[in-house]
């Protein structure tokens, strides 16, 4: 495999968690409940992947259990932001802090370890090397040699593109965000839509986290999401609700991270290489605000009434 192929392959791997998290977040943007707790949800997903994997001694069961836990969390989160009327921005920030602390707490309580949970018993997702294709330059690196979750993330992109065009559900999700009263008046259930969006978000974040902990690695470390959730958030914001652009942005961020990994400190200081995705996102944010007619996006921040 030559270096360019290696770079592409690395880029695809680094794209997967970002893409999954971004796909997770997208419906919450439709319902105008943009969940900035992605980072925390992913961290729980990573933790769940390892813990459930160990518990069931099967990666498939482990991931299934993680996703179920994600769905339950989504229901709770949805309840909190709809029925209990907690601002989603506040809840998201609290979730991030909570996840960082709670995973450490649980790690200590249940496994008596700090920092890393690494165990030979942790199962991992297999990598599929597709015959013939794997030997084609460029294509091979992109298509072959990844985990099922990478392929699933791209299937989900296609599913979402289709769903946006054809399904009633996506229409109602969007209506719940754009004009909730209209949906309510038409007999739809706004809160249910808002909860569904969060359920989807947490389920996919569970996958994104699991991809990190049992897909790319077979261990869990504290704070192992390392800001990926925020990068995914940036991708969601740039795509302006469009799945195709979401995929494109995720790939750009994935490749930017791959560059950071490949570039040697003789070329540029590692800090600058690491900065790349954030700088791209920052510039993108400005360009987006300058070029869009309605002047950029606002995250649903809370009103600070007493």
């Amino acid at each position: 495999m030559d270096l360019f192929d290696a770079f592409l392959s690395s880029g695809v791997r680094l794209t997967t968690p970002i893409l999954l998290a971004a796909l997770a977040c997208l419906p919450t943007q439709w319902t105008k409940d943009l969940n900035i707790g992605l980072e925390g949800a992913m961290l729980f997903g990573a933790f769940g992947g390892v813990v459930f994997g160990l518990m069931f001694q099967s990666v498939a069961l482990g991931i299934a259990a993680t996703v179920i836990a994600g769905i339950i969390s989504g229901l709770i989160f949805g309840y909190v932001i709809t029925r209990l009327n907690v601002n989603v921005f506040v809840a998201g920030i609290a979730l991030n802090i909570f996840a960082a602390a709670a995973t450490v707490y649980l790690l200590r309580s249940f496994f008596g370890v700090k920092g890393t949970l690494s165990d030979p018993g942790i199962p991992s997702l297999p990598v599929y090397n597709i015959p013939f294709i794997k030997d084609i330059p460029v294509i091979g690196a992109i298509v072959s040699g990844h985990t099922i979750l990478t392929y699933l993330s791209w299937v989900l992109v296609a599913v979402m593109v289709f769903a946006v065009r054809r399904t009633v559900l996506v229409r109602r999700l969007k209506a719940a965000g754009e004009h909730p009263a209209a949906l309510a008046a038409a007999g739809g259930n706004v809160n249910r839509m808002r909860v569904w969006a969060q359920v989807w978000c947490f389920a996919l974040c569970a996958l994104a986290g699991a991809q990190l902990s049992v897909g790319q690695l077979t261990l869990f470390t504290e704070g192992m999401t390392n800001g990926l959730g925020f990068v995914a958030l940036a991708a969601v914001i740039f795509c302006r609700g469009k799945v195709k652009w979401l995929a494109v942005m995720s790939v750009i961020f994935g490749l930017a991270s791959a560059v950071a990994v490949q570039v040697n400190d003789a070329v540029v200081a590692p800090q600058f290489a690491q900065m790349l995705p954030y700088v791209i996102a920052f510039i993108g944010l400005i360009v987006l605000a300058k070029t869009s007619k309605d002047g950029g996006i606002r995250i649903a921040t809370p009103t600070m009434e007493a």
Partner: protein, 375 residues
């Protein structure tokens, strides 16, 4: 069905306001009730988490509190830990109050710490007060510059400040890390840090062995001034109105753009000063992780306090006690000190869900009485 809620359009922190009681006493009672609920919820979570670790909850909490506030020394130590946090939280709160969600506090703290460390190390030595003044001024200036720049992007080009400040954290922190690992590194040190500041750029300790320095006076002054600007001054009125309703502010002739940039500048300046305090009260130099998570703490605390300066100060005090107690608990048990972060996240949810919880309870009670009535 809660269509009522969704019909009101925006999803706000609490349900739309009810008529405010005119008497101050009932307002106070309501406020106290709120605090009691929140602290009760926090205490409940603490008991559960400690019990789950196999310890007796109450004695454990008490020994933690003993560590945090059991003696004048403990109180001084707890307070000393929180000094930068007080300033940073006030900074974040004043931006929130003006409708600017500055979650870039972390980055601005790093920038401020770097500025103070450089001024402290490369200028001087000189008269202590002056040297400290220079350090503080430099860090306030750099913090203000960063935040005002982001504020300008929002004011002029409508670049969402939540995301821009968030991303700025990473960029600033990485840039500072670059500076201390390459051009500004102290060659005698094995890790990335700047050379130490001169002694004249350090606050002196008031109570021995507590780390409580004369910086406490600066912090008191800063908090008081920030409170006054926010709540009492005309410029504070303009900023608050900009936060409350930018369209209203524009229509009555308040310069919304200036208010946004100005409040961000003050916010950034305070965060920068918080960074300076990290350098000038304890570490004496900048290193790659100097501000670890103080900015995020400030963001959370300002949010719990709903950006009200007085309540922000109270919450910071409560939080400092919690953190200190958690460190104390960690020394006498195996309960991880992360418990304080879990609690604070739980408390913020409890605080913002309080009204919703009571509404749900009332609804359940109504449904119950109605079903009883029918039978």
């Amino acid at each position: 069905m809660t269509i009522e809620k969704t019909l009101s359009g925006q999803h706000s922190l609490g349900p739309t306001a009810k008529p405010r009681k005119s008497s101050n006493r009932s307002a106070l009672a309501k406020q106290l009730g709120r605090v009691a609920f929140i602290l009760g919820a926090g205490l409940l979570m603490a008991v559960v988490l400690i019990q789950a670790q196999g310890y007796q909850a109450i004695p454990t909490i008490l020994s933690g509190l003993e560590y945090a506030v059991g003696s004048p020394q403990s109180i001084a130590r707890t307070l000393a830990w929180g000094l930068p946090l007080f300033v940073a939280t006030m900074g974040v709160a004043i931006a929130y109050r003006s409708g600017m969600f500055n979650i870039g506090a972390e980055g601005q703290i790093y920038a401020g710490a770097m500025a103070a460390a450089l001024v402290g190390a490369y200028i001087g030595p000189m008269f202590t007060g002056l040297h400290l003044l220079l350090c503080i001024a430099a860090s306030a200036a750099i913090g203000a510059l960063v935040a005002a720049g982001l504020g300008w992007l929002r004011a002029a080009w409508n670049v969402d400040e939540v995301l821009s400040t968030l991303l700025s954290n990473y960029i600033i922190i990485l840039f500072c890390a670059y500076l201390v690992t390459a051009p500004l590194r102290d060659p005698s040190r094995q890790s990335g840090s700047t050379v130490p500041v001169h002694d004249t750029a350090m606050f002196s300790e008031i109570l021995p062995k507590t780390q409580l320095t004369t910086a406490v006076f600066l912090v008191v002054v800063l908090c008081a001034v920030t409170w006054w600007i926010s709540e009492k001054s005309v410029i504070g009125y303009k900023w608050r109105m900009t936060g409350e309703s930018p369209d209203f502010a524009a229509a009555v002739g308040i310069n919304v753009r200036r208010a946004r940039i100005g409040s961000m500048a003050l916010s950034g300046a305070l965060c920068g000063i918080a960074g300076a305090l990290l350098v000038t009260t304890s570490q004496g130099r900048f290193w790659t992780e100097i501000g670890t998570s103080i900015g995020w703490d400030a963001v959370l605390l300002a949010m719990i306090a709903r950006a009200r300066p007085v309540s922000a100060m109270i919450w910071v005090a409560v939080y400092c006690v919690m953190r200190s107690a958690a460190r104390g608990i960690e020394q006498v048990s195996t309960v991880p000190s992360e418990i304080s972060l879990i609690l604070i996240a739980g408390i913020i949810i409890a605080a913002s869900a309080r009204a919703g919880i009571f509404a749900q309870l009332a609804k359940a009670r109504n449904a119950y009485t109605r079903s009883r009535g029918k039978n």
